[in-house]
Amino acid sequence: MAQDFDFDAIVVGSGITGGWSAKQLTEAGLKVLVLERGPDIPHQSGYKTEMKAPWDMPFRGEGDEELYEREYAVQRLNRHFTEFTQDHFVNDKDNPYQTGEGSDFNWFRSYNLGGRSLTWGRQSYRWSDYDFDANRRDGHGTDWPIRYADIAPWYDLVEEFVGISGSMEGLPQLPDGKFQPPMALNAVEQAVRERIMGRWPERRLMVGRTANLTEAKEGRAKCQYRSICQRGCSFGAYFSTQSSTLPAARATGNLTLVTDAVVEKVDYDPATKRVTGVRWIDKAAGRRRSATARMVFLNAGSFNSVHLMLNSASEVMPTGLANSSGVLGTHIMDHPSTLSVAALMPGFEAVTTFGNRPTGTVIARYRNLDEMDGEGHTRGYSYQGGALQSAWVRGKREPGLGADYKNSLRGPGPWRVVLVAFADCMPRASNRITLDPRKVDADGIPQLKIDFAFGAEEHAALAQAKADAAEMMTHAGGQVLMGFDRPGTGGGAIHEMGGARMGHDPATSVLNKWSQAHDVPNLFVTDGAQMSSSACQNPSLTYMALTARACDHAVGLLREGVI
């Protein structure tokens, strides 16, 4: 293949979905160009701080707040942004964006090889038909053109390759999958699980399903229980582009990877009604380049894929590439999230743990399943959290000086349980991204502008989540310390999605059920931009499954000569 074209496929982005597109398409025999806007971070040798202790770092791991205020004003708000990981996040000063009036949105980004696969939270959950049917059922957004049965075999495929450890729970709202053995609940979590289930059998506290290996896989060692994943893991024990999909794609001999390549436009040929390739800025050489291909996969991250489509407007598509519906950029979402409860859990002073488990616990959604029992909202929320022991930081809250004070901070501290709620975000037309007509970046590309606000449903869900959490902790023997019911700033869940939604109708959606543009049959958008609803569980696994599914479909179309 690839006659008359430079490549069979161009993949824009090397993060979680870009890595999957690269792997699936190269393994199918296609010649693939992957363009990554940021620098190379090679597996193992690129993880500069991985082995360092806090005392090896100039600011002890906390980082230089003066620098962060100046250049990382948004990224520093990410809990995984530290002195150890700062080079795995974007410099906000050099990569500005705008927010609309009355909007506040923290856009957390990693512009480097592997994208946010290097820094992700690794929580991996299937969606169920409660999620794929949500828009149809309550009338918000547009109906998904797929259901669980369409994606289930693709979940199987990606789970087995990624390596996800988790427990089988038999919950229809959070389907079981192809899991490696689960990591263990600690003694407190085990007790809390039993106490909660004793009263509410449908509320299941389980260990997080996480893309950290509990068994070695080809080329990857099992987890070492350091829980410093975001620095990069030379053991390859968590799933990232570097550890997993990139080696697979490279092994085919069909991959061309170019880093420092900021794609600014996708070229569209009105005569053939096809995209023909992309143009990018070679940051290293400071010049513009282009390449052609039979098809293009956008995997730049939800907002950047949409940004690229908006910026690829042409005479025949004046409002953006594949935007005849006019909905491109609309219905963006991010999970509203807050700390629903922190509680002391007395009675476990005689027990502690060894090792750092790189996942917390989850209580799966239990509201608005077969019975509509949400107060003021029609979807769900779930909790992530866990039981942990206060470390030396507890001394910051306590009076005292001298030897007794020092000795009081020597052992493990009191046990606490924290539950952080993540709720469904409703898809709304008013939550949208556009190109700012007045602001451009250093390359002259219009900046992204984000208009975003949570609504009544999100507030109602988090209010109920707070009340439930306090009730569960009290019942489990805990003493509630605090809890919140207001969502944090948008973007805080780092699950921003939507903007090029999937749907049945080309008049009201951008993509069809194959993640393929209604308007342009050789254009695929398989990252979070394609999402039509948000569910309340972490979305990355679903992006991966939809990507593998779209790749399979695209390869079929290519072989049939349709595209």
Binding site: W55, R60, Q389, A391, L401
Partner: protein
């Protein structure tokens, strides 16, 4: 050997060899790079070192003085770690704090501490007898954690002393335990009277 990845032992060996090859030092605290306005005086450095050591003294392990925590605190204050350079809320600005505010409304904690300690002993705090110095600091500590203390500046300084100590090699790996490569997760380990917490139990540090 696990799969085709590196084994734990090989890996740990390679990592320490790498550290040797690069000659990685334990990070020293460099105050030289600070702007003149932020550079502490020798007196402030001496006071901060002594104060830190009173909070975390030598016991069976060295204390905060030996761990160099005083200079870390001054560096951290200058660079605004843990919110140290945030503008104070108006209701937090008392008559004893106001003289030490910067133009941007943030507090110069080092100057505040110096003057507060001097005032507490009615003179030159560093030259007073040890018991008198400790008494003055203990009074400030009790006030700072009292029911009506609010956002007391001593809490910021004390917090950074703790950060400095427990993230130092002495505090983080001798006073507490440090295990960079646990290799396993034990969900239920009995606590003994001499059990030391792990300084790199990150959840406990972040949420504890």
């Amino acid at each position: 050997m696990e799969g085709k990845g590196w084994s734990r032992r090989e890996f740990a060996g390679a990592a320490s060899l790498l550290a040797l090859a690069l000659g990685l030092p334990s990070a020293a605290v460099y105050l030289d790079g600070l702007d003149d306005a932020d550079a502490p005086s020798d007196r402030q450095r001496a006071i901060m070192r002594e104060v830190a050591d009173m909070v975390i003294p030598d016991t069976e392990t060295p204390g905060a003085g030996a761990a160099g925590v005083g200079d870390f605190v001054l560096l951290a204050l200058a660079h605004g770690l843990e919110g140290a350079r945030a503008a104070l809320a108006p209701d937090a600005v008392s008559t004893t704090i106001r003289p030490h505010l910067r133009r941007d409304g943030s507090l110069d904690h080092a100057r505040w501490l110096e003057s507060t300690l001097d005032r507490a002993v009615g003179g030159d705090w560093p030259s007073k007898p040890a018991e008198r110095k400790l008494e003055a600091l203990a009074t400030i500590d009790a006030q700072a954690f009292g029911p009506e203390a609010g956002a007391h500046p001593w809490r910021m300084v004390k917090g950074l002393i703790l950060t400095g100590y427990y993230t130092s090699e002495i505090g983080g790996s001798r006073e507490l335990a440090y295990e960079p490569l646990p290799g396993r997760y034990d969900p239920a380990v009995p606590v003994a009277p001499d059990t030391r917490a792990y300084s790199n139990e990150w959840n406990g540090v972040e949420f504890g």
